[in-house]
Point group: C2
Chain length 234, copies 2
Amino acid sequence: MSSPAKHNCSVCSLKKICLPTGVGKDELERLEALVQDTKVHHTSDEVIRQESPFRNLYAVKSGMYKSVKLNDLGEERVVGFHLPGDIIGLDAIYTKTYSSSLVALTTSVLCQFNYDQLVLLSAKMPTLQAQLMRLSSKEINIANAFQNAQTAEQKLAGFIHNLSARNAERGFSSTQLILSMSRQDIASHIGMAPETISRILKQFQSNDILIINKREMKILDPARLLISTGCAHA
Amino acid sequence: MSSPAKHNCSVCSLKKICLPTGVGKDELERLEALVQDTKVHHTSDEVIRQESPFRNLYAVKSGMYKSVKLNDLGEERVVGFHLPGDIIGLDAIYTKTYSSSLVALTTSVLCQFNYDQLVLLSAKMPTLQAQLMRLSSKEINIANAFQNAQTAEQKLAGFIHNLSARNAERGFSSTQLILSMSRQDIASHIGMAPETISRILKQFQSNDILIINKREMKILDPARLLISTGCAHA
DNA sequence: CGATGTATTGAGCATACTCAATCAGTGTGG
DNA sequence: CCACACTGATTGAGTATGCTCAATACATCG
């Protein structure tokens, strides 16, 4: 399921978007010391169990994870996908228990931070405190992002555009995407049937907006993709 | 548009859910001193303009506000409704500009906190820092709340249930609700046509789940309302 | 090579939208 | 004081979008 690994924030390529952002070089060591361990997970590994008590924040070091929420009727819903540099668990600070389970979508690595220790440290490090608030604020924006979409086309275009933008933010390609998640997962996340996902992807392909082969996607026309989201005009 | 008013957190009935939560009595004075002013607004007053630079967080003291987002196509969308004790602007910490406009839905009062000063103060007050993180975390949960709803009935039931729960949290009635917003606003917020709102409210009434007269709603059967949200079973 | 999980395609149908008319409540001016 | 317009809410009829159910294709794996 997982094995320990050595860790060092200062050499991590994600420090520009992760917790260390804005933290001074000397202070970084104190933050590093707080990373209790770094674990490797494999596809379908459950890392966090829904309803378990909140203790740690996690940062994605590599790979991809999904958050899955189960309601009282036993229906599953994918709440979000997590890319390298993403902080997981910020929503549980308020509820004191994790509101969803965390599952690895591919071979992935996670860094673990004890929240109480992080708070103690941030009281002494204004830059860390500021970054914690920024990341929390960012999470609110992410959660609100899908509010705009009305039609299935807009929802799916919005999802792809968003994934592309997050990839770009991390220095990855914004046009060449690997969908580590299944169509089923995408469908669950944006609230539509997997069959509709297929049909609209086909439509995007025949309009030369993108090419998709299994789980590899190439965006040909980012501008028209943006128009399809219903957020911008031609 | 607005007139200054005297302010005092210590005697405010909302301190149990607002910024002062967890802050000691002696420290409260320092937080109070930070409230630059308290303004009275009237129906349709625009308090924050979308895209304007972020400087302040706001707390609702009384009444109700809505956040409205305009996209590049000129389409308006209600992003949220704000009840007394709610903190407004947490999403703008990351973006540095307000992502939506704030409009009063009825005669309402707002407290204003300069964010930079709040951060400086929270560096010296761990309890205030903790509450800022808790409130930010809470906001993530609120933003994720509507993810579950599939059908129009579930969306509307979820909206009413949520409003009822937030009312209860503030010590107001959970069964007697005043809808300060229009049907149009509700429709925009939960993403459906105002006509459908009418029809489903009618359906809830004929099923004796609630009674609605203009903008006054009485919830008769909270249990069946919860079932209608699709989050619980009979 | 069959078996399994994932993705796609097809056909029929239901939900919720659009468009249009009506109704109720509020405010304005003659 | 009442006629008129104006806004918001409701009701009705027709339609389209996206879901459901079912079959098929495709890939991976033991």
